[in-house]
Amino acid sequence: MSDFETRVQNVFREVFDNPDLNIYREMQAKHVVGWDSLNHITLIMTLEETFKVKFSTREVMGFQNVGEMMDCLREKLPT
């Protein structure tokens, strides 16, 4: 797991309050206990604060799975 993925995973663990949570690209909301629309917003906001990025209105709700979310996030990071 890359450094970047570990940081994303840590955000997931904090937001869903589960220190053993392991993320993978195909993972979707239905695979995670507590990933409802409410916690989704918390997740997005926490990712924004952690990585100092901003998702667009479309992106906020538009990800199909964790892989897409990470790709979108990575593109926003300074290279």
Partner: protein, 595 residues
């Protein structure tokens, strides 16, 4: 769960949203934890708000039960006498109204000039309906003045803009609230403080009808909980402040009154402005008290005579300045003011003192003061420690009552947990030579220290260098660190060999670390260095000055025997053959001996 690791009330505003929720989830109901039934009605999404408010109240010792009405059903719930709201029989009713919801209504409104009146009278009407059926504490959020600027800088002066409309609604609500006994939560202030650009997150309103980003919800609901709990009798009634580097820059005992930074320097200005903020609190009836490790006479002199002090002697209900432990001193202040421990906030720049007081009195608010005094005012605003009613004549009279009393406190009750606390600090002492790194601070101590200074010999820098190189001299200083941070160099000692005696030429310690057994440690290191010099006796002298009364009995306390007087100077000696090392909870590090 360890009570000490739980955040205090002031900290709740600073927690990330998910952390607040997760902490709240870990709280289990304790016996006697009071119940609180809260109805939450909103025209914005309320789920994050409800979760966060529940967690906040649990962390503050209450057991909330929250009824969250369906989205945007404020009117139905309040107007229908058979609604869930009234069946729930709430003790608190919160109306969480969002400026974003007004936006669309205002845009469609044909009568823009009358819009403000119509919205505020509608809200006041709802309050009256609630009042007619319930005695609940009624809490109304005011509206955030929006960012739309159709007229640029003239926007606020044009009546037909949402900006001026919202401003007028907020004013009408304030006017009506006192009449109706309604508590207004100042959402507009919160949004301004955190930055409206971030607070009014358009994406979240459009996606999920979120009136604000969850990042700011902990701060908002902290203010809501303050508003509720004040109605239940909570509230800070007294601020206990430290002096050195809290009320002014510098250390009175080391720098002297004329070198303190108050007002005249950049940093001094920051302290002076903080004093103005404290004076505002005093004017509204919050008591101020001083708890300082200092000499009482010196403190009195500064409070009465320093030309740049904003806060004066008369502004304080109690002034306790001595070199005893602050926990016992706070017990003395409490006894004098006769207030519960949860009525106090303690402001001190020193991590050691904060940690001690937090351990000793978990009910007392002990915020983490910034290392930069320029942050104090805005931090206090965010922590919202002083939620409260307006000052009564009685509040203001209270101060005069305390002032009439004697200011000097006698310590009757002693705090007993100090030894345990000190033992768990993980203190580490580094015994250092007078090298080029240590010398500037050693020089400062030698030149400036007045109080914990046995001989007050003002060696010059050249003298110190010479002493450091002399084979018949042992010169060292002590740097102290603990789990709370590095205290820097806090003691310095010079021993001169004279036959089989090691004469203590200089012994200086920073008063900040008094009562942490550094004195005991210093004697132990002195004994060792004296032996290395080939001596059999330590000989100490106390040369009295007007300022060093604090160490008058230090040598006898450390087991030295009286060995005569030379004028006013008292001489003491310690036979190294009889000296026994004590068990001291400080780990000693010494550099490798130079060969």
């Amino acid at each position: 769960m360890d009570l000490l690791n739980l955040p205090q009330a002031w900290e709740l505003a600073d927690l990330p949203f998910h952390r607040l929720i997760s902490l709240g989830r870990r709280i289990e109901r304790k016996d006697g934890q009071p119940n609180l039934r809260i109805a939450l009605l909103g025209d914005a999404a309320t789920q994050h708000y409800g979760q966060a408010l529940a967690a906040t109240l649990k962390l503050r010792g209450w057991w909330p039960e929250i009824y969250e009405a369906e989205f945007d059903t404020i009117r139905q719930e309040i107007l229908n006498p058979a609604s869930e709201l009234y069946r729930f029989d709430p003790e608190v009713v919160i109306l969480f109204t969002a400026t974003q919801a007004l936006y669309h209504r205002f845009a469609r409104s044909a009568e823009k000039a009358a819009f403000a009146d119509s919205v505020s009278s509608e809200i006041v009407e709802l309050w009256k309906r609630v009042r007619s059926r319930s005695n609940a504490i009624l809490i109304q959020h005011n509206f955030v003045v929006p960012l739309n600027r159709p007229f640029g800088n003239r926007t606020a002066s044009e009546r037909d803009t949402l900006t001026s409309t919202v401003t007028r609604i907020n004013q009408s609500l304030l006017d009506a609230a006192s009449e109706q006994g309604v508590k207004i939560v100042d959402t507009e202030f919160q949004a301004s403080y955190h930055g409206k650009r971030h607070w009014l997150d358009e994406r979240l309103w459009c996606q999920a009808k979120q009136a604000l980003s969850p990042s700011f919800i902990p701060s908002l609901v902290k203010n809501v909980s303050d508003t509720i709990l004040v109605e239940r009798g909570a509230g800070i009634k007294c601020v206990i402040v430290d002096l050195d580097n809290t009320m002014w820059g510098g250390i009175l005992a080391e720098d002297g009154a004329d070198r303190l930074e108050i007002g005249q320097t950049e940093l001094g200005l920051a302290f002076q402005r903080f004093q103005i903020a404290l004076l505002e609190l005093k004017s509204r009836g919050v008591l101020l008290a001083v708890c300082s490790k200092n000499d009482q006479a010196n403190v009195t002199d500064v409070l009465k005579n320093h030309p740049d002090m904003i806060l004066r002697w008369d502004d304080f209900a109690a002034v306790v300045a001595n070199f005893g432990d602050k926990a016992s001193n706070i017990l003395a202040i409490r006894e004098k003011l006769n207030l519960g421990l949860d009525s106090f906030v303690f402001l001190d720049d020193t991590a050691f003192e904060r940690s001690l007081i937090r351990t000793a009195f978990p009910a007392m608010q002990v915020p983490e003061l910034s290392t930069d005094p320029a942050d104090f005012i805005s931090d206090l605003a965010r922590w919202n420690l002083f939620e409260g009613r307006s000052a009564t004549a009685e509040d203001l009279a209270r101060l005069a009552y305390y002032q009439a009393d004697d200011q000097r406190q006698t310590i009757r009750e002693k705090f007993h947990g100090l030894d345990d606390f000190i033992a768990e600090l993980g203190m580490e002492a580094h015994i250092l030579p007078f090298d080029s790194y240590a010398l500037p601070r050693v020089l400062q101590l030698v030149q400036r220290s007045n109080q914990f200074n046995l001989t007050t010999i003002r060696h010059s820098e050249a003298d110190l260098r010479q002493l450091a190189a002399d084979r018949d001299v042992a010169a060292f200083c002590i740097r102290l660190a603990d789990r709370l941070g590095d205290n820097g160099i806090i003691a310095t000692v010079i021993l001169r060999k004279s036959g089989s005696d090691a004469i203590v030429d200089t012994w200086i310690m920073s008063c900040r670390v008094l009562g942490r057994r550094v004195e005991d440690l210093t004697v132990q290191v002195m004994a060792e260095k004296a032996r290395q010099l080939g001596c059999r006796r330590l000989v100490g002298r106390y040369i009295p000055t007007t300022k060093n009364g604090i160490v008058e009995n230090l040598y006898p306390q450390q087991g030295f025997a009286a060995a005569g007087e030379e004028g006013a100077t008292r001489v003491y000696s310690l036979d190294l053959g009889e000296y026994r090392r004590q068990s001291i909870p400080i780990i000693i590090h010494e550099p490798e001996p130079q060969t």
